[in-house]
Amino acid sequence: MSVITYRDAVSSVLREALDEDERVFLMGEDIGPYGGAFAVTKGFYEQYGKKRIKDSPLAESVIVGAGVGAAMVGLRPVVELMTINFSLLAMDQIVNHAAKIRYMSGGQFSIPLIIRTVTGAGASVGATHSQSFEGWYASVPGLTVVTPSTPRDVIGLFRSCRELNDPVMFVEHILLYGTRGEAPDSGDFRIPIGQADLRRTGKDITLCGYSRMALVAEQAADILAREGIEADVIDLRCLRPLDSETIVNSVKKTHRALMVEETTRLGGFAGELVSQIQEDAFDYLDAPVGRVAGAEVPIPYSFPLEQLAIPSAESVAASARKLLNRS
């Protein structure tokens, strides 16, 4: 096993896709000579050329729409929306077209399209660049929504996404590109789509999150462990399909659960998790299922205010103690 960054992991699976499959091309804003807004495609343009590394205009709708069209006739585009905030400008193509063409055509056309994008707050880039819309996309039948939190998961999940024939939102996190982790050695390594990761086991409480919040939950578990509280930590890894079984099984064991997410509580994805837990594990619960979510505000620019708007290991640990009546 070698240790690599999250950024390197994304770059490596993209190179792998380009090397292995002539039908794959990349398309997006500044992915060419500039090397990508997050330097993921640095050197790609020089290596693979203009035909396969398509630097597109600032035109999100046609970036996704052209990906849909090319996928309909058998290519396997990987398009990049610089951040998930800009995906709002492509929502017609993602929601109305990519997600529905297969069903509406009676199964005649599949759309093997991967839409890579970047979510998350905490980078001091202000309200319009710090949002987390992946939960919205998870509400759309026809889409697959994947949210890797580690280099290993980037590699294993991206390889599995390439083997799908339907549109995927592959959602990376803005604060994770520089994080490091072990990379699998085998080219055959895959993580099945729709399988959550039980990252840590404990008997007292279930902490559940995805993307960076899974890591925050894990840090919270470290804090709690020093106080003698043992937590199960679950990284969802995919929002659609959703592995509710892993969550429910954990809750049946721990009898307490706390959902952690970066976006707002009202209408957030954690509400769905709470709902599934109460449907399938109501009799096992010793306390109401808790939620730690982002503040109900546009993300502020000022650093200390922004930190207050996002869950932290400390705020998660505090909520967990409360659930366990140990505050």
Binding site: P57, S61, V62, N96, G106, P141, E163
Partner: protein
């Protein structure tokens, strides 16, 4: 207007074939309105009456391996491309035998076999998809063309600009074909589209070849498309066509279209493409009343058979509800047996 001598390559059979297709579309739409009134077709129904010369004139110039992408007023293009009237009618009725298995409906007709890439009902979205199909053609080094239909209403969408610019800057083999019928739903384009009277000139901003044509003259549409296809196949990049035409009916069957001035309506009634072509065929000595009568009777029979096929066809099975969301896995939330 062209003379018969201008189109020596077209035989009587070809010409009467165009007449028959236009007539089929018109009668099919009349029947679909009847079926709507009877409650056999639900939801939206946007008929193509008055615009038949465009679908027939343009689509007949394509090769089998070319692509057609269109808008929600798509019955005419689907029939002109060769989807069976039975399969289209069954789709309008939501039946399992429909060309989209009843899942798409009137606005979402598809045929992978005929490279009929779909009717799209969010105005303007299909231009981006057409650009992508063109991109795939170019990527593979092929010489197919992508014919993308939309209305004048779509020109006001941002996706029009995004797709036109991308196709032009990347030299994609896409023919952007605007059916300029003067209305975006109920709003006059004179009130909503600054370039309404010289719409084709908008493509000057993209450095694109651009054309205006009488959309109610099937031979003019065909003639122009033949020339454009040659250029686009040769790699000269995208083209923009504006065909002036008019809806003889409202936006949808729910629309009495009383916002349109009487003199405008009566002017365009006089431009109906079907009588115009019939008169032309007569004046040029190509066809007789007997020829038309025979075709008309044959079309009537086909339309009656299509309606009967639709009515007698089965509904999709309840299990079909969850079928086809994903290629590789079942949809979420399929009820397990015994659950409430």
């Amino acid at each position: 207007m062209l003379k018969a001598a201008d189109v020596p390559e077209l035989t009587k059979t070809d010409l009467l074939g165009f007449y028959r297709q236009m007539k089929l579309i018109r009668e099919f739409e009349r029947e679909s309105e009847r079926q709507y009134t009877r409650g056999n077709i639900k939801g939206f129904l946007h008929v193509y009456n008055g615009e038949e010369a465009i679908a027939v004139g343009a689509i007949n110039t394509l090769r089998e391996d070319d692509y057609v992408v269109t808008h929600y007023r798509d019955h005419g293009q689907a029939l002109a491309r060769g989807i069976g009237s039975k399969e289209v009618m069954a789709e309008l009725m939501g039946k399992a035998t429909g060309c989209s298995n009843g899942k798409g409906g009137s606005m979402h007709l598809f045929s992978s076999e005929l490279n009929f890439m779909g009717g799209y009902a969010i105005v303007g979205g299909q231009l981006c998809i057409a650009a992508g199909i063109g991109l795939a053609v170019q990527y593979r080094g092929n010489d197919q063309v992508v014919l993308c239909f939309f209305g004048d209403g779509a020109v006001n969408e941002g996706e029009f600009h995004e797709a036109m610019n991308l196709a032009a800057i990347w030299n994609l083999p896409v023919i952007f074909f605007c059916e300029h019928n003067l209305y975006g739903m109920g709003a006059s384009s004179k009130e909503t589209l600054v370039m309404w009277d010289s719409l084709h000139e908008m493509a000057a901003a993209y450095g694109m070849d651009r054309y205006e044509v009488d959309g109610n003259d099937v031979l003019e549409v065909r003639d122009l498309m033949q020339k454009i296809n040659i250029d686009v196949r040769a790699g000269k990049g995208p083209a923009f066509v504006v065909a002036r035409t008019y809806r003889l009916r409202g936006h949808s069957v729910a629309d009495p279209a009383d916002y349109r001035p009487d003199d405008e309506v009566s002017y365009w009634a006089g431009q109906d493409p079907i009588p115009r072509f019939r008169d032309w065929l007569t004046q040029e000595g190509i066809a007789t009343v007997e020829d038309f009568d025979e075709i008309d009777a044959n079309v009537d029979e086909e339309v009656v058979a299509a309606a009967e096929f639709g009515e007698l066809s089965p509904w999709p099975e309840p299990d079909d509800l969850y079928h086809g969301v994903y290629t590789d896995r079942p949809a979420e939330g399929i009820p397990t047996s015994g659950s409430s």
